[in-house]
């Protein structure tokens, strides 16, 4: 089973600051998904990246997939309190057997 390491585990910053969180693996991802989970809710898909070196933007969120497809980052510009949540990365490489493998997530708090 592929292990996903997410860092940092916790991050608390002020509104308006920029931040980056990371997702790393010792193995190659076939594809990588990023989810956000708000308190008291289930995770919701933000984006899927497939191609090495791929960059996707979702408003103030920028997702990068490493060239070797073993790492990914999520950068948030001018963070807002609504960005608060648990950010999870998930890998579908082993999906033939058991679906997605999730990282433990980054808990992000944006303070007004």
């Amino acid at each position: 089973t592929q292990l996903l390491e997410q860092s940092p585990q916790f991050l608390s910053i002020q509104e308006g600051e920029n931040l980056t969180v990371y997702c790393n693996s010792s193995s190659v991802f076939s594809s990588l998904q990023w989810y956000r989970q708000e308190p008291g809710e289930g995770p919701v898909l933000l984006v899927t990246v497939v191609t090495g070196g791929e960059v996707k933007k979702l408003k103030r969120l920028t997702f990068q997939f490493g060239d070797a497809r073993k790492d990914s980052s999520l950068h948030i510009t001018a963070a807002q309190p609504g960005d608060t949540g648990l950010y999870l990365c998930a890998d579908g490489t082993g999906g033939g057997a058991d679906g997605l493998t999730f990282g433990k997530g980054t808990h992000l708090i944006i303070q007004p």
Partner: protein, 112 residues
């Protein structure tokens, strides 16, 4: 939009009780999943199902069973609830095993 619903948002049960958690999805997905989510441990897969009446054990199946009699419904059963089963339970569905998972809002179960 895909909708995944779970029968209860909050549930309080006593040790030894039989507990049923139900999940319904409306997008005709073949695959359905049950996870539990605990602080510091992330999302852990309990069971999944890739077709009606088919089920596969995930990473932590002990103490749980599942039922999938209809495509849209996947039930998680705690035969004899124990305090260490206090957790947040999340149901998800997907079209492909490595594809996007759509989550329900979760059931927060407290076993006293």
């Amino acid at each position: 939009d895909v909708k995944v619903t779970q029968s209860s948002r909050y549930l309080v049960k006593r040790t030894g009780e039989k507990v049923f958690l139900e999940c319904v999805q409306d997008m005709d997905h073949e695959n359905m999943f049950w996870y539990r989510q605990d602080p510091g441990l992330g999302l852990r897969l309990i069971y999944f199902s890739y077709d009606v009446k088919m089920k596969e054990k995930g990473d932590i199946p002990e103490g749980y069973s599942v039922s999938r009699e209809k495509k849209e419904r996947f039930s998680l059963i705690l035969e004899s609830a124990s305090t260490n089963q206090t957790s947040m339970y999340l149901c998800a569905s997907s079209f492909g095993l490595g594809g996007t998972q759509y989550f329900g809002p979760g059931t927060r179960l407290l076993v006293l």
